[in-house]
């Protein structure tokens, strides 16, 4: 008798736990679905504009006006957008003034953003290294004040500098020159570089360089031989982040360049023709402005995240 009751109780308990298990399983499935649903929805929101840009560069006027979405189903892809830039398979070997113009802008963008990032990395890293290692006393200013001076530049809106620079660059004949843009871009990313690199250098123990100093290296020698190799990942992170910001910069370029030093974003922005906008060529140009950084983002995502999240967690 007692064995029967215990068997029944055991069965009931098993049923209860099974029910609880089912319930938690159901809850789990629901929450999983919700999580993946939300993830996929946002992934779609992130990717669709890029997809739209890339596909539009293959659409003719008719397809654009119909709002066609899927290639080969909604519309027949054609090279029209890339042809207008002289970059389609049948035009690539012919001479094309549009392509020359485009390549000139593209190279300007590459050169300007690379040089500005390099300049900012060099002087920014040096400053960050000095501030993280030595005690300075320049008049009333100590390390903390100098650091604050650099970081406070971050809040300076570009518009405050733009008009004075327009006048100053005109006076020194640097209007519409790549050097002028490079200097301004380096200034723009310098606080970010100093922020990232100061954090990076602080994480390297000073004993390493002290040992090197004992071995007879100067402070500059210790920096180049010991510290730079260790802090390279941080430098790459700062460099990539600078590159992204400089490549996409529009405001200064729009005000301070006209023909020679014009960058890709300015060319994109000036595409309105007399008969409205040629969407296919606009899309091809936009793709050319977007794709390089998409590739950088996919390949070097680790560094960008490292650079962005510096200083967030203390």
């Amino acid at each position: 008798m007692s064995s029967t009751t215990s068997a029944i109780e055991a069965a009931a308990a098993a049923e209860r736990s099974a029910a609880r298990y089912d319930q938690s399983r159901a809850a789990r499935i629901i929450s999983r679905t919700a999580i993946y649903g939300a993830l996929l929805l946002w992934a779609f929101i992130c990717l669709f504009p890029i997809y739209w840009t890339l596909t539009t560069s293959f659409k003719t006027a008719k397809d654009v006006q119909q709002g066609a979405l899927i290639p080969f189903v909604d519309f027949e892809p054609s090279w029209i957008g890339w042809k207008s830039l002289g970059l389609s398979p049948d035009t690539i070997f012919e001479t094309s003034t549009v392509r020359e113009e485009f390549l000139a802008r593209f190279i300007n963008s590459v050169m300007t953003s690379l040089s500005a990032s390099m300049l900012a990395i060099v002087i920014g890293s040096l400053a960050a290294y000095g501030l993280s290692r030595f005690e300075y006393k320049w008049g009333p200013f100590r390390n903390k004040d100098i650091s604050f001076f650099f970081l406070s530049q971050l809040i300076l809106p570009p518009v405050v500098l733009a008009l004075p620079f327009l006048v100053l660059y005109k006076e020194v004949a640097m209007l519409d020159s790549s050097i002028g843009l490079i200097l301004l871009y380096a200034l723009m990313v310098l606080p970010i570089v100093i922020w990232i690199m100061r954090d990076q250098f602080k994480s390297i123990p000073a004993e390493l360089e002290e040992a090197a100093l004992v071995d007879g290296l100067s402070s500059w020698g210790a920096l180049l031989r010991i510290v730079v190799p260790i802090s390279l990942p941080g430098m790459v992170a700062a460099f990539i982040l600078s590159l992204v910001l400089c490549w996409n910069e529009y405001f200064f370029a729009a005000l301070l360049t006209s023909t020679d030093a014009k960058t890709l974003p300015v060319m994109v922005a000036s595409q309105t023709g007399s008969q409205g906008i040629n969407w296919w060529s606009m899309a091809a140009l936009s793709s050319a402005a977007i794709v390089p950084l998409c590739i950088v983002g996919i390949l070097l995502e680790r560094y960008i995240i490292k650079g962005l999240s510096t200083g967030a967690v203390k």
């Binding site: 946002w42 500098l161 008009l163 402070s219």
Partner: protein, 363 residues
Amino acid sequence: MQTSAALIGDIPASRKALGRGLIIAASLGLAAVLVWQILFVSGNVEEGFDTWRPVLYAYLAWAVVLGVSQVIIRGEAGQRALFVLPAVLFTISMVIFPTAFGIYIAFTDWNLSSFEGRQFNGLDNLRALFEDSYYWNSLGNMAFYVAMVLVEYAIAFGLALLLNAEIRARRFFRVVFLLPFMLSPVAISWMVGKSLMEYRFGPAANLARFLGWEKPAFFTEPWIAKISIEVMDAWMYIPFMMILLLAGLQAMPRDVSEAARVDGANGWQTFWKITFPLMLPVSVTAIVLRIIFKLKLADIIINVTAGGPGGATDSVTSFIYREYRDRSNVGYGTMLAEFYLVIIIIFMLTLLRFVSRWLRKLD
């Protein structure tokens, strides 16, 4: 670490004198070039340079001599000063000097299209500023855009939580979520603002029609236009806040939230009682940095709406941009910009003080 006093002690007096002599010579040289050019431009001297570029070269030479003489005078301490000196000189000459020059321009009636050249006009620009309803309107718009940072923050926090959950293909989602931050605002303005949101053929308009909005026009009604601009800007910058918050979540000790869960707290309670308070410092950093970026908002507005309809979407920067582009009004535009800078500095200082006091009270 050696003190700088001990380092200076090793330098012979003759070397110090040499260093000081170099600085004095370089400064005199720079001053001479500067004065000569000023005299030439004002018409007191016949010969001179066509542009001010030689003054720039003289300044560069002066900066190099300054660096060299630091090493000569102070030895090792001078070498250390060389680490910070380039960045300091660069920033001062690129920010402080132009801003000071800007203040001078701000008090002139300098219009590049007029033949009369610049003339000091006292407080006229400031008076005009206070009567310029479009400028105050754009400042009001900035208040709206800045306030919307809180909404962006909520979305970014949600996404960071999603990425921090136990999911497959985490790296894929992280890369995809990061992508909008990498894209050129100008390209996005055209391909999203002017194409994707086009009221006739844009997929966004088609979707809105499908959802029951009969005449989806994203940029004709003032408030809808403002929100459309904000949505585009949010789309580009949410990844930025998301990454900061994700870093914060990953640095959080896992056992704290697990202990709470064992104690029977559900996900919602764990979030509000544990996660959110622990994330406050990171959240404040993310929001403050985002506000700093938001105050520079311009590219999208310039390209998509040019401030319209009727200034409803204007940011201060895009307004000043047009003031220069359409009217060549350098003097007045600079006054608007400098005034904006003053407002930003006051606003940021107040915000930071308020935030730090608030955080201290919570501890």
